[in-house]
């Protein structure tokens, strides 16, 4: 029992726990829409496109969270503008738009990093640094998670309908394109929190793995969102505990726990036939 309690006797571990739970909650709840709207590629792309914003913010001494957020909102707008009329045969296909914007922004980030001269300074951004999360970032993560939940609750029926029948949503005046842009903007917020927890490379795991695990147990949206959040919290608590005792990178340990949870759920589902 002491093994389980000991990590939380330190302030930096308690801060990391709050950061992980907040980022996990926003990513996991939103992730259900990301997975079932088939936007997993967008989530993966957005985690990488934080890079130019992070680099510029680091150079200028600005808030890293706001730098990453600005970068991601530009990405979301770029994807939205390029593919906005794809369903009417007038735009670029969404996956192609994501591919172009994602690689373009990431390349910009790499060039800016190179101009800055040091990759070591940015290693904590690429791999995450949840054990040294700053108070400002912590409040950003809590605020982002709450904002995501409020939007998901307030616009639940519109986001749900546009996810499975964009045509009908357009017919009654909801505007599926606007809903898509809103989801991309929410992903931008979720990813910025996730980057600080598990880093640029692993953030999409926070968006994808918990909903994919939850989908093994339920086939309806709201229970799936709740279960997805619970799964992400299990991964955060398990990952931080493991990182503390085994001296592992905390972000990788959280994502590893999330993957193990998914594997166990998948095995259980297979055994039940």
């Amino acid at each position: 029992m002491h093994w389980l309690v000991e990590p939380w006797s330190f302030q930096f571990m308690r801060d990391a726990l709050v950061a992980g739970l907040a980022a996990g909650m926003g990513c996991a709840a939103l992730g259900v829409f990301v997975v079932f709207r088939r936007m997993a590629f967008a989530g993966e792309a957005m985690s990488h496109t934080t890079l130019p914003g992070l680099v510029v913010a680091q150079w200028q001494g600005w808030s890293l969270s706001l730098g990453a957020l600005a970068s991601n909102l530009i990405t979301a707008l770029g994807i939205g503008l390029l593919s906005g009329r794809a369903s009417k045969g007038r735009g670029v296909r969404e996956d192609a738009a994501i591919g172009v914007v994602f690689t373009g922004m990431f390349a910009l980030g790499v060039m800016l990093t190179s101009l800055g001269g040091s990759w070591r300074d940015l290693s904590h951004l690429i791999l995450g640094n949840i054990l040294a999360v700053e108070p400002g970032s912590l409040w950003f993560m809590i605020g982002s998670a709450l904002a995501i939940l409020v939007v998901l609750a307030a616009l639940h029926k519109e986001l749900e309908l546009t996810s499975y029948d964009a045509t009908y949503a357009d017919l009654i005046g909801i505007g599926s394109g606007r809903a898509r842009l809103l989801v991309l903007a929410l992903v931008a917020f979720a990813v910025v929190s996730g980057v600080q927890v598990v880093g640029v490379v692993l953030t999409s795991a926070l968006l994808i793995s918990p909903p994919a695990t939850a989908a093994m147990f339920t086939r309806t949206l709201r229970p799936m969102m709740v279960l997805s959040v619970i799964v992400s919290w299990i991964a955060v608590v398990g990952g931080l505990t493991l990182a503390y005792h085994a001296d592992l990178p905390a972000g990788a340990a959280i994502v590893g726990c999330s993957a193990v949870t998914f594997a166990l759920a998948w095995a259980w589902r297979r055994m039940r036939g």
């Binding site: 259900v32 079932f36 709207r37 088939r38 009417k88 045969g89 007038r90 307030a154 616009l155 029926k157 519109e158 749900e160 309908l161 996810s163 499975y164 029948d165 964009a166 045509t167 009908y168 357009d170 017919l171 009654i172 005046g173 909801i174 505007g175 989908a215 339920t218 086939r219 309806t220 949206l221 799936m224």
Partner: protein, 244 residues
């Protein structure tokens, strides 16, 4: 609580113009942006209030394009459409559209009852939740289309006939006065055809106006008031007897 100013697209429920037909299509031309040739050209017809027209034509003749344009999903290149005397989209409440099945993301985790409830969303608008009346409408529609037993079933687990009835249930639950039904009997069995026929007959008795697109008028168990035959993007209006 439903607030007027939160209506989708700022469009509220407008009273119809009693002097106008349910639908008036004049000199309509429709085409897709990347194609120079129009899919539909010089299409003209009226649909009187309470009438039911069949829309027939081969694959690619423009049936779905015409229905989507009337529904406001596609913008015409030329011409005009008036729905109960109003511009297309002026009142989202009055027009419902039954899409073809391939337009739905069937893997999305939503149950049948919730799917049909979406037909009531236009009456709620932003932020408001469906009320007891909305749920009662869904309840009776599910019963009429014999879907009550699968109300909690995820939409992806339904049979083809059940999917078609569910789509129709949502269109009916909307309570619109003009129904645009794109291939409602596509790949369905005899029992679903009978249920749909019964429903369409009831709707017509209640004065609803309909356009039903179909490959084959003969497979419908109910009479039409006329046939719109599309061929090469142009339209012929025929009395029903000639089409049989």
């Amino acid at each position: 609580m439903k607030l007027e100013w939160l209506a989708y697209g700022g469009r509220h429920l407008h009273a119809p113009d009693p002097t106008m037909p349910a639908l008036r299509v004049s000199e309509l031309a429709v085409g897709y942006a990347q194609a120079s040739e129009a899919v539909l050209s010089r299409v003209e017809f009226d649909l009187r209030v309470g009438a039911k027209l069949a829309l027939v034509g081969a694959n690619g003749s423009g049936k779905s394009t015409l229905l989507k344009t009337i529904a406001g999903l596609l913008k015409p290149r030329a011409g005009a459409i008036r729905v109960f005397g109003l511009a297309v989209g002026a009142c989202h409440h009055r027009t419902s559209y039954l899409p073809q099945r391939e337009e739905i993301n069937w893997s999305f985790p939503v149950a049948v009852e919730r799917f049909v409830l979406a037909g009531r969303f236009v009456h709620c608008g932003w932020l408001a939740r469906p009320d007891a009346n909305d749920h009662a409408v869904v309840e009776s529609t599910l019963a009429e289309l014999e879907l009550s037993a699968v109300r909690r079933t995820p939409i992806g687990e339904l049979s083809g006939g059940q999917k078609q009835r569910m789509l129709l249930a949502r269109a009916v639950a909307q309570g619109s006065d003009l129904l645009l039904l794109d291939e409602p009997l596509n790949a369905v069995d005899a029992s679903t055809r009978a249920i749909v026929a019964r429903l369409l007959a009831r709707l017509q008795r209640e004065g609803k106006s309909m356009i039903v697109s179909t490959h084959d008028v003969g497979m419908h168990d109910h009479p039409f008031d006329g046939v719109l035959a599309l061929e090469g993007g142009t339209l012929e209006v025929q009395p029903y007897a000639l089409a049989r």
